[in-house]
Assembly symmetry: C3
Homo-oligomer: 227 residues x 3
């Protein structure tokens, strides 16, 4: 099975570990044995001007996933939204009202569906590939989350080169290592079966430190500075 998935993660933090905004949406192509990505793509947000309502993230993920899927023609696209694995092209108002989610969630999805339902329908008509809102159950979505953390580390390196020093928060229970010419990341939850990722990056002249976010258990903080 060849699956494209997308997720958004990584946050710019203040010195007091307060989140300013999210940083990276990653899309990945995942193939058997489903432990890492064969291919990945990123779209960076502007963490200094971020809509924290969650709508920007889902929209960015859908567009980036469809863009990657157009190139690699997977069997299915997984989005990180837990509305029961429903096909996004079928999300009309009646279907959303029938979902077992909160009223607030229904309003958000009615708004999102205005863009995403036509996007998914058009893509399905052209390619036969479904976009499903499967959420946390999907391993490719988790791999996309790990890549969003790895790309967040890349963003942090570039930001530190320009500004001297930066603190970012990684997605849930994952770590990164900045190595010679590349950034490696992996899940800290062994129950997931050893999920990991790696991208190339210019890592010259950079110092870094990784440690637990004292205010949010199971989340790691990455500090990066120019040496």
């Amino acid at each position: 099975m060849r699956i494209v998935a997308a997720d958004t993660g990584g946050a710019l933090l203040t010195e007091d570990y307060e989140p300013v905004g999210l940083i990276a949406t990653a899309a990945v192509l995942v193939e058997k044995p489903y432990r890492t990505a064969t291919l990945s793509a990123v779209r960076y947000a502007d963490p200094f001007n971020y809509d924290m309502s969650g709508r920007q993230a889902v929209r960015d993920e859908a567009y980036l996933a469809v863009e990657l899927a157009r190139r690699v023609k997977p069997d299915v696209i997984h989005l990180d939204s837990t509305i029961g694995g429903i096909e996004v092209r079928k999300l009309d108002e009646a279907t959303i009202n029938a979902l077992t989610i909160t009223d607030r969630g229904k309003e958000v999805w009615k708004d999102l569906a205005k863009d995403l339902q036509p996007l998914a329908k058009k893509f399905w008509e052209e390619t036969g590939i479904e976009v499903v809102a499967i959420g946390k159950s999907s391993v490719p979505v988790r791999i996309a989350e790990i890549y969003s953390g790895i790309y967040t580390a890349k963003w942090a390196i570039e930001h530190a080169r320009e500004n001297g020093r930066v603190i970012v928060g990684l997605p849930r229970y994952m770590k990164v290592e900045i190595r010679q010419g590349k950034i490696y990341g992996e899940s800290l939850d062994p129950r997931e079966g050893a999920l990991f990722g790696e991208i190339e990056a210019d890592t010259e002249g950079i110092g870094w430190e990784l440690y637990p976010n004292p205010l949010v258990r199971r989340y790691m903080v990455l500090e990066v500075w120019r040496e």
Copy 2:
């Protein structure tokens, strides 16, 4: 403390990782230091004809556990059903109605109790050993779950010998290794304190691969084929 527990797990999967039916009910005798089984027994179901309502599993577990307990005389029997550690021999209609579970759960238990309450009562009268519905809190129940995964791997080997190739899903966050003459399994959750199991098996002429189920995070898939 000597505890007998039983649990059902392992599923035959389609090529698309959809579950067809459950495979193995395992009963175990667990003794201090409570990390593995001193003794285990299995009853295989027919995954091609499986009642997925959950009733078949609990019934099979109770009968297999009592059968093993008759031989090894433990202090107590643990069943994987989270109804508050109640003694099964006391499960009359009034007691079930008073449980803090869903109405659907009450109907299931009223049905199950028809067989299991007399079974537990008779066994207690003969031996003084209680059958308690303790559920996920019990370590022996988790060890039984791990053995159900190990026996599922054994079933997969035999099925692959006859049919060439098979895909099974293991119980939650556990892995197996098919070794020379035996099958080893262990929990992937280190918080459980290193729970594991092992059985003897004819593993000649068999190839295998273990990887994350892409559709169900924290569950592993085992593929077995004839070489």
Copy 3:
């Protein structure tokens, strides 16, 4: 950031692993990189006469944390009570009623606030340091929990010296090792990012064994005896 936190944990157990009462309240000073304590303090309870309602624990934690904070002047004090990170000095009746917790929880906090609100207010007026009820989200609270387990092992050693043998239960998913002249403890959850602790202790002439509590998954039992 320098954080003082406190938590209570470790329980005296019967031979059947039933809890008798809690043993140790630990306060810790945690500094960057937030993996262990720079300093720790303990107050032992009498497990044979323990108020299991949870009120004794929160009260002991607040007093011990303020005592340690008076010496080390942290930026903030974290208490293990999940009422949304609210400042304890602001806990008047109207604020408690507005919390999204159970009615039972509100009654407990109205009672607790009688002592703790003036304590936190006075400490804040004198030092500018806030006491916040942040709960499980705080890494320093988890480190305090790990130290409560380490001090529980110390209590067990002393109790075994006098009484021959003792069984204690550790806080959730952690282990301890009794080494030459010290007790080491660490989290069994790798998602937490390698949290640990260590204290000095007279460990001469003591035997010990650590294993899973068969009745409570993810909790370890420590047996200690005089050799």
